[in-house]
Symmetry: C2
Subunit: 216 residues, 2 copies
DNA sequence: AATGAAATTTAGACTTGTCTAAATATATTA
DNA sequence: TAATATATTTAGACAAGTCTAAATTTCATT
């Protein structure tokens, strides 16, 4: 249907579109680890296929058809990640690279059966919502820990940074999905925070707090 | 590591090597659905990488390194097929195309964990042996039903033809892996055979008998 | 409004894997 | 053994996806 490269471009445009109406060539080049000139070439092809709205120099957005494909790729990515963690016992910091390959396995019947086999999970191991077979999913309204005040708190439901280093750090601190945390203290000097969890007390940097998402 | 195309060539050379010491360009072209000239190009690349022994005009064979890669691809293919049938409830005639894609997922850790998850199956849904993580597997010594005589029989343990049409036909006749069959009659005119199974009696053509493998 | 910087596109090239058509080598068979 | 048929390789081309370097457009600043 679509090539692996096309699918990756559509997915990247989708992710970058979350915080903007239009996505630039350079943003895509950075995310996809390619050169801007390569991006321009591909944008022409995707526009030709009517998967994106592209006006030279003006950035791109997905068409309805393009968004449908992008969401389907994301559905596959997250379901495979869930499978790897829940069925094959991988850690949440180990699955992304494998899912980057698995998301391009074409069969929708396969992914729908995998979904059923795992009893229709709603969130992937990183707390991201899994679109259902119609592409529908709820957008959790989450806040970074860094945005809340003393004695406020909530349940960890997601992360902004999906890097191995960040996920491993959180794991070590037991700051994992589902854990309840409360802000006990905010250090004025560097905005680091002292958190109370069910088990213990930990101090995290502003950087860490910024990327840790909770539901109030 | 190796490209998808390279992996498919190595796998095809492996399969064709079962019945011969050397594999020809045209044999590969036929199996891979390409032109002989394309095959020649790829053989040069694989020889350059020392994955095959190639002398122009004289056919090819796998080196030890090439065979190792080929067996690993086959291990992945068969484990994924087993997964699709045993865990996701696909029929044995539905899984080959999906496995053709899944076999190229690179992680060996993934496949080893999948193997463990399924409790180390020894045969795929078509009765083919699954190599273990060291590439080792037992070669069943099977015979086609067409080669045995009246009142002889055995247990169905494999098929030579993996086509959808053939597998669906066998399924409909309940001639599936594990079933015990005995030859009740051989029709002289066209060499078709009457088989007794546990449940009933069926007549199959020579063509069907030729592709159905049993252990005595 | 003019100028310089930054972003983007174009031009031309390269790699992988494929193709057709032509050339060459091997096998067959008379 | 010579002619013919078949198998294989070579030559030249093409599509996809990428790159570097150069040209162009847009943006920011004066
Ligand atoms: Mn991921
Ligand atoms: Mn994820
Ligand atoms: Mn198969
Ligand atoms: Mn099989």
């Amino acid at each position: 249907m679509n090539t692996l490269a096309e699918e990756n471009y559509l997915k990247s445009i989708y992710h970058l579109s979350v915080n903007a109406t239009s996505v630039s060539t350079n943003q895509l080049a950075a995310l996809l680890n390619t050169k801007a000139s390569s991006v321009t070439d591909m944008l022409k092809k995707l526009a030709e296929k009517e998967l994106i709205n592209y006006t030279p120099y003006q950035g791109v957005s997905l068409t309805a058809a393009g968004e449908k494909i992008a969401v389907n790729i994301i559905r596959k990515h997250r379901l495979w990640e869930y499978f790897l963690v829940e069925k094959l016992d991988f850690k949440w910091d180990q699955v992304h690279e494998m899912a980057e390959e698995l998301e391009h396995i074409s069969s929708n019947e396969l992914i729908d059966r995998l979904d059923k086999f795992m009893e229709y999970p709603k969130f992937d191991p990183h707390g991201d919502p899994i679109p259902d077979c119609n592409g529908l999913f709820k957008i959790h309204n989450l806040k970074p820990v860094s945005s809340i005040g003393i004695n406020e708190g909530g349940v960890i439901c997601g992360v902004r940074d999906h890097s191995k280093a960040y996920l491993q750090y959180l794991e070590k601190q037991s700051l994992t999905i589902g854990k309840k945390v409360t802000v006990a203290e905010i250090i004025e000097f560097d905005h680091s925070m002292v958190l109370h969890t069910e088990d213990n007390t930990i101090q995290i940097s502003r950087e860490v707090a910024n990327n840790l998402l909770i539901a109030l």
